[in-house]
Structures are given as C-alpha cells and as structure tokens.
C-alpha cells in the first residue's frame, strides 16, 4: 500500500461523505426511529413488576432478563448504538456501485493505485463516521430521559478504559460491516441488487443479535446464535461498561477478541473480492 495514494483516496471519500449530509441523515433515521418510537412503546419493564417484591428484589428479578441494565430502554438503547454501525456503513458499498456507474472507479483502477489502496481508503473513511454517529445516538438516548421520555440511564462507572473499550467495539463493528458492504459493492453491479441484498442482510443480522431482545427471555437456541453475532459482541462491550459486568459470562476484552476475529475474517474475504473485481478483465 502506498501511503500517499491511500491518503489522497481517503480524503476524497471523506470529502464526498461530508458533502452528502443526506446519506448521514438516512443512516441515522432507523436507529432514531427505534429510539423514539419502538423503545418508547416497547419499554415493557413496567409489565415485569411483580406485586409483593421489594424494590431491591424487583431490580434483581429484572436484572436476570436484561443483564443488569436499570430498565429495558437503557438495555435496548445500547443495542441501537451497535445497530447504527450497520446503517452508517452500508452506503460505502453503494458508493462503490455509483462510482462504477459514473466511471470514477474505472479512472482510479486505470491509475497506479492498487486494489489495497482503493479498498483501504474506502474502509477507513467509511468506518470513521459511524463512531461519531454512534455517540450521537448514545447522547440522544441519554437526553430522552431528560425530556419526560424513557431514556438511557448509565449505572456503571465508565472510566477511560471503559470508554476506550466502547470506542474500540464501535470501530471494530464498523470496520467489519464496512468490509462486508465494500465486498458487496465491488461484486454487485446494479444499485437495485445491492439494496435488495443489503436489506436481506440487515434485518436478519439485527434480529439474530441481542440488540433488541432481553437476553433472559430469548430461547436458548437463539441465545446460541446471538452469542456469535458481531452486533451482540459489540453491544455486550457497551452494556458491560454502561451497566456493569455482573451478569456476563466473559469480560469485555473477550467480546472484543471475538469482534477482531469477525473483522479479520471479513476483511480477508473482502480484499480478495476487491482484488478480483479490480484486476484487468481476462
């Protein structure tokens, strides 16, 4: 990889992202709707109040379902912070397709830039902004608690190390999904096909994760699937740091290791596909 080529291409991607605020707004739309509507309407913590229990017993009972979070909304909001990494990276693949249609990719591929330069620039540019968006969603979730709605209550003591772990989890999840969407972008030719495939991936990946469901209420087979889901791995790092790790079987770093594994695997596949797509057509 050539640093100058890579940084020029990264700057180009960042300029394009900055000049397209509509794409950023679109990637925030789904997580924000979930927080403002789904999270508010589905905050079923109230239903779990059992008559006769002391507040302490009540909290303990609840904690077995939502793993130490103070209420369902807080538990779920951490899940949405993970989900925004998916919605904020999916347009990096779409950009590849549009660059193919507009000829821009052809121009870059005809230059001495290698597939690694081209892929690396898009990967980094596409994974930087989800960090900002994830913290925006996190901030919004906290803020909702101050305007009379259900909000995110942070009950754990998040130190600098915890904050670092959260940033790392968000970054790894974004890098992994950006790799996936870039791989799709380099192999798919038509925007319609791309969005159809992305839609077919997004919902199943969200619904097989622990982003939405109270862990204790999930059937064991779904727990089994969810514990390998990369969204789950990232979200657990957030929850451990935001609400405490008492109810988790592993420390945060174990989940981070899992995320690194996902990223390395996806990155390897994606670079291979990109190299193949950019090689002279034989």
């Amino acid at each position: 990889m050539n640093v100058r080529r890579w940084s020029a291409l990264t700057r180009r991607e960042l300029l394009k992202i900055a000049r397209n605020p509509a794409a950023i707004a679109t990637s925030l739309l789904l997580p924000i709707l979930y927080l403002l509507l789904f999270g508010q309407g589905f905050n079923f913590t109230k239903l779990l109040t059992i008559p006769g229990l002391t507040p302490g017993q009540q909290q303990q009972y609840l904690a077995t379902y939502i793993l130490g979070a103070p209420d369902y909304f807080s538990y779920f909001a951490a899940g949405m912070v993970g989900f925004v990494c998916v919605t904020a990276t999916l347009f990096v693949g779409a950009n590849v397709i549009f660059d193919k249609l507009f000829g821009t990719l052809k121009r870059t591929a005809a230059s001495p830039a290698t597939a690694t330069d081209i892929f690396g620039a898009r990967l980094v540019a596409g994974s930087i902004q989800p960090i900002g968006l994830a913290f925006l969603v996190l901030g919004l979730a906290v803020l909702l608690g101050y305007v009379g709605l259900a909000g995110l209550h942070i009950t754990g003591a998040v130190g600098p190390l915890g904050a670092g772990e959260i940033v790392l989890a968000i970054l790894l999840l974004s890098l992994m999904f950006a790799s996936l969407f870039l791989a799709l972008g380099f192999t798919i030719e038509q925007p319609q096909t791309y969005f159809a495939v992305v839609n077919a991936i997004n919902l199943p990946v969200l619904l097989t994760s622990a982003a939405l469901y109270p862990w204790g209420a999930m059937p064991s087979w779904l727990q089994g699937i969810a514990s390998y889901n990369p969204i789950t791995l990232a979200v657990e790092v957030l929850r451990i740091n935001l609400f405490g790790g008492t109810y988790y079987s592993h420390p945060a770093w174990a989940y981070l290791l899992g995320l690194i594994g996902w990223f390395v695997g996806m990155f390897t596949i994606a670079t291979l596909l990109t190299r193949r797509a950019l090689a002279p057509k034989v």
Partner: protein, 337 residues
C-alpha cells in the same frame, strides 16, 4: 526513432466466439499522433483497453513505452495517460480536488503538484472554475478536466478514447488545438480512437482504419488517399479545346482523364505538381482556361475503398457491440466485471 507502441496479433474474444479485435498488428513511433478510425463496434476501444492494461489479451503481444502490457501493468499505468470516452471525474469534488487526487495517484512530486495543477487549469481554461464542483461543469469543461487528469503526470504516451464525443464543433476544434500544442511542447506520443473522419484527417500523422476487429488499411492520411486514386484536378476550358484532352493524357503522372459537362477530370497522385503542367499544356495549345481546381480525396472515399461500405458516423450498434454488451451484462449478473 523508437517505437512507443508495438502490437502484434492483438486479439480479444468475448463470449467465447465474438472476435472484437482479431489479430491486429501495428506500431506507433515515438512522438507520433496515431489514430484508430472506424465505426462503432469496430474494435477501437477494445484495442485501446488492451494497450492500457484495462482489459486482458486473449492472444497476441503488445508493448507500450517498452513495457509488456500483460507483464508490467502497474509500471505501465504510471507511464501512460488515459482519457476515457465518458466523463470519469468525481462530480462531488471540485476540478482542483480531482486533479489533486490524480496527482497523488500518479505520484507527481508533492512540491511540483500544486504548480502542475495550476498550470493545467490555466492551460485548459479551467482556472476560473477550478474551485467549483464538477457537477456544475459544462460538457466541454468536463472533457478538458478529463484531459488535465490524463496528463497530470506528463505521460510519455497519451491514449484518447473518442475524446471529443458529444462536443460541438467549436469544442472539438479547441480540444484538438490543445492536444496539438501539448504534443509539440512535450513530444509525447498520442494514440487516439475516433469515428470522426475530419478529426483523424486533421490530427493524425498516421491512421489505421479498423473494421470488424481488423485493420483494413493504414498509412498517413495522404498515403491512404493516394491509394484510393490520388487527387482530382478539374480543368474547365473556355471555347474550343482542340487536342487538350490528348495533351492532358500525355502528362506525366496522369492516371485517367474523364470528360464531364465540358470539363476534364484528371486523376493523378499529386494534384499540386500537375496544375502548372496543365496550365503550360493549355497555354502551349492556345486553349484559354476558365479555371483549374484541385480536390483531394476525402477519408470517406478511403473508408469506402477499404471496407466496401459507406462510413456513417451515426451507425447503430453492430453485432460486436451487442456481443460485448451481452458479455458484460452476463458478467455483471454473475457478479463479475
């Protein structure tokens, strides 16, 4: 003089059977402007794509600036400039930003890059709009920016694929003036494809006429025209002509004389040198002349002569076009490019 481009038996087969380029061989001397002329689907862009390492070769061999196109595609891309048919500039970036990215990609030294960018913007009349987004550019401005991107690194060989497609005559003339000037200044070799006969005639030192994937004829524009039968000198006498017809036939170099509406159409390889002899012969015989005109054969006639069909610039897609499109479409469906 060494050869900047050498192609031997260049062949590209699409879809297992469609020979888009079929055993094409030619060489381009350093500093030359060489044109590939042919209708849509003749194999021009496919040839250019193979020479620029964008497309693989089915068979054959090619070197550009001494580099084998299949063995050293990376070094090759560094040394050549490429201007595509369509606009490939980034619409969401300004003209200057596009050039900055190109300068970095082609490794223009950091210190020189800003100067080179300013020079090209000035030279290609884009200085005033350099900091505007490309999406606000006119067609002519986009073409000029495309050229600036293609020559940002002062390439030794410049490839132009139908570079003036869609430009108005004024835009085309302006574009070619710049290419001519740049060639004079830098001595770079230019390989271009076009289906505009007048462009090939006016710009190229040598031309290859390509049709159905094969070179039908090649040479300098005037050589090609000579091979069609040379110039036509039309002699319009006043009053009686006496033995003028016989005298014209006897002039050296004359290949045929035809009488048409009282005028003599004299065919010869070189009209300019014949005219004084015609005038002298008529004066010697005491025949007064109303006028003598010279017409050089156009490339239209050359094309007709070598391909057996009329050249039409607005031809629809050919069988090759359709096959190439089909291959790309199927590749796309299979998820390949």
């Amino acid at each position: 003089m060494t050869d900047a481009i050498v192609a031997e038996g260049l062949t590209r087969v699409f879809n297992g059977s469609v020979r888009a380029v079929d055993g094409v061989s030619f060489s381009v001397t350093e500093g030359e402007i060489y044109g590939f002329l042919g209708p849509n689907g003749a194999g021009k862009t496919t040839t250019l794509s193979m020479l620029t390492a964008v497309l693989g070769l089915t068979s054959g061999h090619a070197t550009v600036d001494g580099l084998d196109v299949t063995k050293h595609p990376h070094d090759l891309k560094q040394r050549i400039g490429l201007v595509f048919q369509e606009s490939t500039a980034d619409q969401d970036l300004t003209g200057r930003e596009n050039l900055e990215v190109a300068a970095a990609l082609f490794g223009v030294p950091l210190r020189e890059a800003p100067k080179r960018i300013d020079y090209l913007l000035e030279r290609l009349a884009l200085a005033d709009s350099a900091d505007r987004l490309v999406k606000t550019y006119s067609g002519g401005m986009r073409r000029r920016l495309e050229l600036a991107v293609g020559i940002i690194h002062s390439p030794r060989v410049l490839f132009l694929d139908e570079p003036t497609l869609g430009l108005d005559p004024q835009g085309r003339a302006g574009f070619w003036k710049i290419i001519g000037d740049l060639r004079k200044e830098s001595g770079m070799t230019v390989f271009l494809t076009t289906h505009y006969l007048d462009e090939a005639d006016g710009m190229c030192d040598r031309i290859a006429i390509i049709d159905h994937g094969k070179i039908a004829a090649s040479g300098t524009p005037s050589e090609l025209k000579d091979r069609v039968g040379g110039d036509v000198v039309t002699v319009r006498p006043l009053g009686t002509t006496g033995t003028l017809e016989a005298a014209l036939r006897a002039l050296p170099g004359v290949t045929s004389v035809a009488v048409q509406d009282g005028s003599f159409r004299v065919k010869c390889p070189s009209g300019e040198t014949l005219i004084p002899k015609v005038v002298a012969a008529a004066t010697g015989l005491g025949v007064s002349l109303a006028g003598v005109s010279l017409r050089r054969p156009s490339l239209d006639e050359v094309f007709l002569e070598f391909t057996g069909r009329e050249f039409r610039e607005d031809e629809g897609p050919t069988a090759t076009d359709r096959a190439v499109f089909l291959t790309r479409f199927q590749d796309a469906r299979r998820g390949r490019r």
